[in-house]
């Protein structure tokens, strides 16, 4: 007998963003309503996918998504073992836009919690999702599928750590007050950088960003003074010429880490030749990201092997689950027989002997029940 699980869904691989937008179920209103309608189901709804996992026939799930304006050509429908394999791949990050990203594991967990809260899970789904979450954790701890930065902001952070190790207490200077600079700064702040010095041509914007991030604002004229104090420099100002030249940087013992994400560039490339300066631009950061992504792809076969193992474990559990009543009856019958055969023995001996006799029969029952 096949595994009675189904999956109906769409993802970044099958549907464009406007279709994914329509399919997304918000956890406050649409998702509880969907769960009530579907009966026993778990809904995984993220910005990259909406997937309905359930037990039985998938017709109601298909209808639900069609009613939300999703044409059948964007949907994939899977049944039996393929549902499990897909869920495990999703939880391990193999089906993500960025292979190995960690956020999806939390989203899978959240989907299970929501289904539990609405009493929409049952044993097969519960076990499938628990196994998927355990697998996701194993994949991240036993393989390097989630290792290395895969965004330029994190790549910059990794490089800064390769230079300084601990970023706590370092002084960071930001040239320009754009969104990208703010993103970098947010990551650096999270890693404990100390002073933040914001330099901008427009004093108001510098002041606004500095206030938001608890830093100090400086006019462009103060740049040499700021550079003398900074350990890390993030340059993203819109300027037609270089703002930082080798002659602007004083001799120093401590390294100076510079990221130039502006186009045209803010920092003269000759700065990178100074003995204590480490200068990186967007291409360098992209190279780090590509290398990490390649390394993650190299880990995919190891994760696939973990998935196969998890599938085997699930099937083993499922076989036992299907014949659990028969096993219980068999154990009780054998216990009665043994008690009759050895009336003077103690109950522990009866249980041991009944267990010994039951073992091959249980294995045979499970083998018959395996899908």
């Amino acid at each position: 007998m096949a595994l009675p699980l189904y999956l109906v869904g769409l993802s970044h691989k099958t549907a464009p963003v406007e279709v994914r937008e329509r399919a997304a179920l918000d956890p406050a209103v649409a998702l509880p309503a969907a769960l009530r309608r579907l009966g026993k189901a778990v809904v995984l709804s993220t910005c990259n996918r909406t997937e309905i996992y359930g037990v039985g026939a998938p017709e109601e799930a298909k209808a639900l998504l069609r009613e939300r304006g999703v044409e059948p050509r964007y949907l994939y429908v899977k049944e039996g073992m393929e549902v499990l394999r897909h869920l495990f791949r999703v939880a391990a990050g193999l089906d993500s836009l960025v292979v190995g990203e960690a956020q999806i594991l939390g989203q899978v967990r959240e989907a299970l919690f929501l289904a539990r809260a609405h009493k929409a899970t049952e044993s097969l789904l519960e076990k499938a999702f628990q196994s998927a979450i355990a697998l996701g954790k194993r994949a991240r701890s036993e393989t390097a599928i989630g290792a290395g930065a895969v965004s330029v902001a994190y790549a910059a952070l990794d490089l800064a750590q390769a230079v300084y190790g601990d970023l706590t207490g370092l002084t960071v200077a930001v040239l320009g007050a754009g969104e990208m600079a703010e993103l970098f700064l947010t990551h650096l702040r999270a890693h404990g950088v100390g002073r933040v010095l914001v330099v901008n041509r427009t004093a108001e914007r510098a002041k606004a960003l500095a206030e938001r991030l608890g830093g100090e604002a400086f006019a462009l004229e103060a740049l040499p003074q700021v550079l003398a104090e900074a350990d890390l420099v993030v340059a993203s100002a819109a300027a037609p010429h270089y703002l930082v030249r080798p002659e602007d940087l004083p001799r120093r013992a401590k390294p100076l880490f510079l990221i130039d994400i502006a186009l045209p560039r803010n920092i003269d490339p000759r700065v990178g030749r100074l003995p204590h300066a480490y200068l990186y631009n967007l291409d360098d950061l992209q190279r780090v990201v590509e290398k990490n992504l390649k390394a993650r792809l190299g880990e995919v076969p190891k994760v696939e092997a973990l998935i196969e193992k998890a599938l085997g474990d699930y099937l083993e559990w499922y076989a036992g689950h299907r014949v659990r009543e028969a096993i219980r009856a068999l154990e009780e019958r054998l216990l009665r027989e043994v008690a009759k055969e050895f009336p003077h023995a103690d109950p522990l001996t009866w249980h041991k002997e009944a267990g010994r006799r039951a073992h091959p029969l249980i294995l045979a029952l499970k083998a018959q029940a395996r899908p």
């Binding site: 290395g148 990794d158 490089l159 750590q161 390769a162 230079v163 300084y164 190790g165 601990d166 401590k254 390294p255 990178g272 003995p275 480490y278 990186y280 360098d284 190279r287 780090v288 290398k291 990490n292």
Partner: protein, 250 residues
């Protein structure tokens, strides 16, 4: 086999285990120090090359053990462990060495200064070489630098230890030359120990003079060569029929 040899042998075995079992490092280090103490009690303090080798090896292993808490510096820890193993092997070979006849002041000051120098330079050179290689990676292949020990941590280790080591080596070399002048009538002769120690010191001097201009492999190579020469003066030269006082007829 003397007590010192047994302790040194056990220490060596535990240190070798320390490659896989971190507690072996600490235990092996203390056995090294115990072996040095046993040898000092039977022959006198620093009466032969085995004692400083054991003390140095023990202290290096203890420094390596302290680095176990900093996983990013594990390569430096392995290097210190390897050095401690080499010193242990040398000590095992040198332990049967008879008692030397050095003046007490020279024994304590000269050997003590060199002991500090070897210890500090071992850590400083290891950190310096790794720092030079990390600098190279950060400039040419930043993506390869991410898993390596952080540059600034290594540089701080390198700076502190190299300066202390260089100062101590200068004191040790100066005191050795002063004694050689009074004993042989010349501060420096064509003895492998004296020449290699002096050349090593010269290369370290050159390194400090050119520190800001040297980078990458040249920087790492100079540091390694300088330390190798100093290490040869300690570990290799005594086996080449030196004019070291401990080999002089009584």
């Amino acid at each position: 086999m003397s007590l010192a040899s047994v302790l040194a042998f056990l220490g060596l075995a535990l240190l070798a285990l320390g490659w896989f079992w971190p507690r072996g490092l600490g235990l092996g280090a203390w056995l090294y120090l115990g072996a040095a103490l046993a040898d000092a009690l039977s022959k006198g303090v620093f009466s032969g090359p085995a004692q400083p080798a054991l003390v140095l090896g023990g202290l290096l292993a203890l420094r390596g053990e302290a680095l176990a808490l900093r996983p990013k510096l594990s390569s430096l820890r392995r290097y210190l462990l390897a050095l401690a193993l080499v010193l242990g092997l040398f000590a095992l070979k040198a332990l049967p060495h008879p008692r030397g006849e050095l003046p007490l002041f020279l024994t304590l000051f000269h050997a003590g200064a060199f002991l500090v120098a070897y210890l500090a330079l071992a850590v400083g050179v290891g950190a310096g070489v790794m720092c030079a290689l990390q600098d190279l990676r950060l400039r040419a292949h930043p993506e390869r630098a991410l898993g390596a020990p952080p540059l600034w941590s290594l540089r701080r280790l390198e700076r502190g230890y190299l300066r202390v080591g260089y100062g101590a080596a200068t004191l040790g070399l100066g005191s050795g030359m002063a004694w050689a002048f009074s004993y042989f009538g010349s501060p420096l002769s064509l003895d492998p120990k004296e020449v290699s120690a002096f050349l090593g010191w010269l290369l370290f001097t050159l390194y400090f003079l050119l520190e800001d201009r040297l980078r990458g492999r040249v920087r790492a190579g100079l540091l390694l060569l300088a330390y190798a020469l100093l290490l040869f003066a300690f570990l290799g030269a005594p086996f080449l029929g030196s004019r070291h006082p401990s080999r002089l007829p009584p």
